[in-house]
Subunit: 641 residues, 2 copies
């Protein structure tokens, strides 16, 4: 059964056992998931990878075949991919999900200048490295599996559902590889990247400083050239995810800093590699570099993930760093990985909402309380029999599926932005990814927060008790709208940089394609089409309004957040409708049994989303086009109590 | 400056220092609130009672003068009331608010069978009793201040903003008094109520059992008659707020239990007084009763409030209890206090949203990041200069003011339900209170959760760090949509019991009055009127639909939650418009200076709410009238991953 993706230097070591069953719902954890639930909470907080749902997306909404038709991804044939995802689902369920509670209650702690991660993380991380899960999306030349991002993201989704706090370490390492492969010298690539791809070493991003949170241009960390061609780095960084930990022998810090005489602001920032342990020419580990964790944050959630204050060069006057690429290109270099990183955070919203849904559903099926429409007098019914509980569950399911479709489309576009056969097609897909990324990040993470809240509510009083575990999802989810660019910043990016692409023509063409698709929905889905037309009408009107008011950007900025929500919801609705149309075709062609039930559910969920959730987003239209007037009308005295 | 309301047995000891300043913004805590904010977090999490806002509501939205015109409340003249509220605001800011962080970090803990509350709670509670704040709304015959609920609720708001976990003890005691005064014998009243009114003793409600959460009729705790006319109570209760603690000498538990041969379900439940310490005939404390705390819950929030599992009669075969009123009337008796209790929880949503707003606002004024529209190049601006941050702040402020107006109208109606001069008027106000209570509870607490989340977001990464304190509000707020009847149950109560009042005529008349009021708005507020008309149109249509589908209650139940949100939002919008109309009149009459700024803000907030927040609620209409079809379409297999 062994699967290894990547993991030994420079050899794409993908081996997939041909005995792996395909096409069934996963697997490890499922038995316990469906066991007698009377003994809640122990064990109810398990996880089953939603393989059927993911497969459906990759077949019918954002077809994997469009990727495998390219030269770069020709090897990733759908059955191979589904086998890989099944294995990933099994891994997330059996090796990662059980670490989630431990990670929360034990947390990562600082002890004698070292960060000690939760006990269960050590074995889980070892297994992660052994199986090579970190290598899925990376190029074969570094030992990666060279799978498209659309596939790697599904793996990320499963592992994040298993344990969001755990997943952040690998996420940051992936980001480091991505950045380094685009900007490092061959020597640097050789020295660091294969070990990062395999997961033997970890990577971090060191951007934030106290005065420079979202405003990266305000960074003050210094880099001074040394005689040997390296640099001496001094400064403090905050909010460094997995800045220090005990999971790997080395940690490769990517650090934004200023060279002497660098221009002010974002144009004077350079990127440096600052390893925790210096690497000798032969690749062996040498001396400890002057990089220290100063403290770790006591956070609302993701307790397993150490969020570090890092000090560079405090003991010796400078940590040894290597410049990446040319001086003063740090901001541009960081931008390389921005879509990837932001999509990764959007996926967290999806992943944690899925996990919370998987906890709420069996609870609602098990918990006896009150009577449903058909409950005999004197008896109690499981609360799933109450219409309002059904509404909560279907709201969660529909939102999860819509966000998944959006995030996977985003990954699909990013994959084609690299792999499409000609420049024009690559450019089109890059623009699509640019447009979708703020939607995935902001809407995905807002939905993550909202749906974990719904999951708490389904549990009633028990949801408020920490041992139940559902409150952890609510706490963990809350970081995602904040980091990797707050959701307000995503909305500004959308209206300020993405809508204006090609003078507005790109978004207009994209919306036109969505409308064509809705027009083509079969008559049996007319309720969906009607609701989505109203959604698209509102999107068209607001998009036009934002375009017409570009000269008064404050008014545009004032409408950014509700516009993002409106657009994302409508796009999500159209993607679910795309799935519903495919499901309807398969049903019309005679699908039967469990397949037919699964496909019928896709139609129901798409209809529920379009007819009951999209209209509330349409109701945001007036706040998009209201302008900044009322927002700016009150001064500090008027705002104060 | 001393104020005492109630607090010595049978003597209404209201003394109000005439030197108390009136009409100014409060006071204690304000200085530190406006201090140099650079050293965040210490001290930024302070509280200032929103006296101007509350005064505005009591003067212009739900006029106190309508209450003081009644015989029962003739003594509560507005200046006396405002003096009292200033004192209450000062108390909440200076004595209660500083205990909030302690209460969270230290929490209440179980030690050797005793619950130890946080250190700071002891002095705060002593001060609370000394000042007599628990007595404000209770009748003079028990030593209370006999103020209308509209006034007592403002006091509750301030104390809850100060520390929600602390406020729950007094809230439960108030509920116990309320219930006992309506159903106890004179002997029982004499023995228990004055000490509860003064706060020397505390009260609790013991309803919930593991199998009987929301379904109180499923209670199994037993009560067996003893020869001396008392009863022996045996059973376990869960989720008992302040079931055990060290703040008072005695705790009076009100316990639902079944007598032998009681009919099944809700009709066989009786109410008992079970004191922690038995009370001798002379009023002195006697033997310890057989009531024990078994464990306390480890909760997401409100750590200062001990949530207890209570065992009755486990050591001796029965705790001594006294029957309240007639056998098998427990459910009906509990219903007496339901409006009061549910409104009290709705106020928690308001109070914690206000507190979170008060933390987010100075942070946004202080935190430098990025540039606003007018920031010179190379400089940073406070984040309040960003339109999107303004949107977050104004959304918080507008929601807080709308929920406050609704909750205060609810209290106003409850006060007149007791005090109006004739039966017909009392009945009308009782019905209004019945209609509004589920709105206050469910919408108020949903807004509480949502606005505390916004407050976290305003803080960015710092909001996710527990030391900042804003995450505590987010955790604390999450219980309120759950307890005292989940918000789903509130919505069912609204559509199942409240809309059908008088065959639907009551709600229709109420909505007609709202429309008349909106019709009468001056031309300068036409934008508000237009938006509210659209809101009222949607409410009328959905209300009619729910009425027409009463025979198919599952379809009605399916729309209950979105309908509640729609109705509450529109009512809140009309109440803010009422305030805006009054403000506009005062402005037209020449209000100037700080007053004019304050009044202008009322107009802006009402317009923002009506034109930018109400439309999103209108967007819920299709989900109200969709029926249960799609909600019930999926079976367990289709819902599963």
């Amino acid at each position: 059964m062994g699967l290894q993706v990547g993991c030994r230097l420079r050899r794409c070591a993908l081996r997939l056992a041909t005995t792996a069953p395909t096409g069934t719902a996963a697997t490890v954890g499922e038995e316990s998931f469906r066991r007698d639930l009377r003994s809640y909470p122990p064990g109810m907080d398990t996880y089953t990878a939603p393989l059927r749902d993911v497969r459906f997306v990759l077949e019918h909404i954002t077809p994997l075949t469009a990727l495998t038709a390219t030269e770069a991804f020709a090897h990733a044939d759908p059955e191979l991919v589904m086998g890989l995802l099944e294995e990933a689902g099994r891994f997330a369920a059996s090796a990662i999900a059980p670490t989630n509670r431990d990670g929360d209650t034990q947390g990562s702690v600082l002890s004698d200048g070292e960060v000690v991660t939760p006990d269960s993380f050590k074995q889980a991380y070892r297994q992660y490295v052994e199986a090579g899960w970190g290598a899925v999306q990376h190029p074969a030349e570094f030992g990666g599996g060279a799978f498209p991002l659309a596939v790697a993201n599904a793996v990320k989704e499963f592992i994040t559902s298993g344990n969001m706090a755990f997943s952040l370490g690998p996420l940051l390492t992936t980001g480091a590889v991505y950045l380094m492969q685009h900007h490092c010298s061959q020597e640097q690539l050789d020295a660091y990247v294969p070990k990062l791809v395999s997961g033997e070493w970890a990577g971090t991003m060191n951007l934030t400083e106290p005065q420079a949170g979202s405003d990266v241009g305000a960074v003050t960390t210094k880099a001074v050239p040394a005689e040997d061609g390296t640099y001496r780095i001094t400064g403090q960084k905050i909010y460094i995810t997995y800045g220090e930990h005990d999971l790997t022998d080395n940690i490769v810090h990517l650090v934004l800093a200023r060279l002497p005489d660098a221009p002010p602001g974002g144009k004077g920032i350079s990127l440096f590699i600052v390893p925790k342990v210096l690497v000798e020419d032969d690749g062996s580990l040498g001396e400890r570099n002057d990089v220290q964790v100063v403290s770790i944050e006591h956070k609302l959630g993701i307790h397993g993930s150490p969020t570090c204050v890092m000090a560079f060069g405090e003991a010796t006057g400078g940590a040894v760093g290597e410049l990446v690429g040319e001086p003063n290109q740090g901001m541009r270099q960081m931008f390389t990985m921005m879509n990837d990183a932001r999509l990764g955070v959007g996926l967290q919203g999806l992943a944690i909402a899925e996990r919370a849904y998987q906890q709420a559903l069996p609870y609602a099926q098990d918990r006896q309380q009150g009577r449903g429409p058909d409950t005999p007098p004197g008896e109690q019914a499981p609360i799933i029999e109450h219409a309002d509980v059904r509404r909560m569950l279907l709201t969660m399911k529909a939102n999860v599926e819509a966000v998944r479709a959006l995030c996977y489309l985003n990954a699909h576009a990013l994959a084609l932005a690299h792999a499409a056969p000609d420049d024009a097609a690559r450019e089109e897909h890059r623009k699509l990814a640019d447009l979708l990324t703020p939607l995935s990040k902001a809407w995905g993470t807002d939905v993550g927060v909202e749906m974990t809240s719904v999951a708490v509510q389904v549990h009633g009083g028990m949801g408020y008790v920490e041992e139940t575990g559902v409150a952890q999802h609510y706490r963990d989810a809350r970081i995602a709208p904040i980091y990797e660019g707050t959701n307000g910043i995503q909305a500004l990016d959308l209206v300020g940089r993405k809508l204006p692409m090609d003078g507005g023509a790109f978004v207009k063409a994209f919306l036109g394609e969505l409308r064509t698709e809705v027009d083509a929905l079969p008559g049996s889905l007319s309720a969906i089409a009607e609701a989505l037309h109203e959604g698209l009408d509102a999107v068209d009107r607001t998009t036009a309004w934002l375009g017409e008011h570009r000269e008064s950007f404050d008014d545009v900025a004032a409408g950014a957040t509700p516009y993002l929500r409106l657009l994302a919801t409508v796009v999500g609705g159209v993607l679910l409708a795309r799935g519903a149309a495919a499901a309807q075709r398969l049903l019309d062609d005679g699908a039967s049994g469990g397949d037919a039930e699964f496909l019928a559910a896709k139609v129901t969920v798409a209809r529920f989303f379009a007819t009951q959730l999209v209209p509330a987003a349409v109701g945001l239209e007036p706040s998009v086009t209201a302008g900044a007037g009322d927002l700016r009308a009150l001064d500090a005295g008027q705002l104060a109590p």
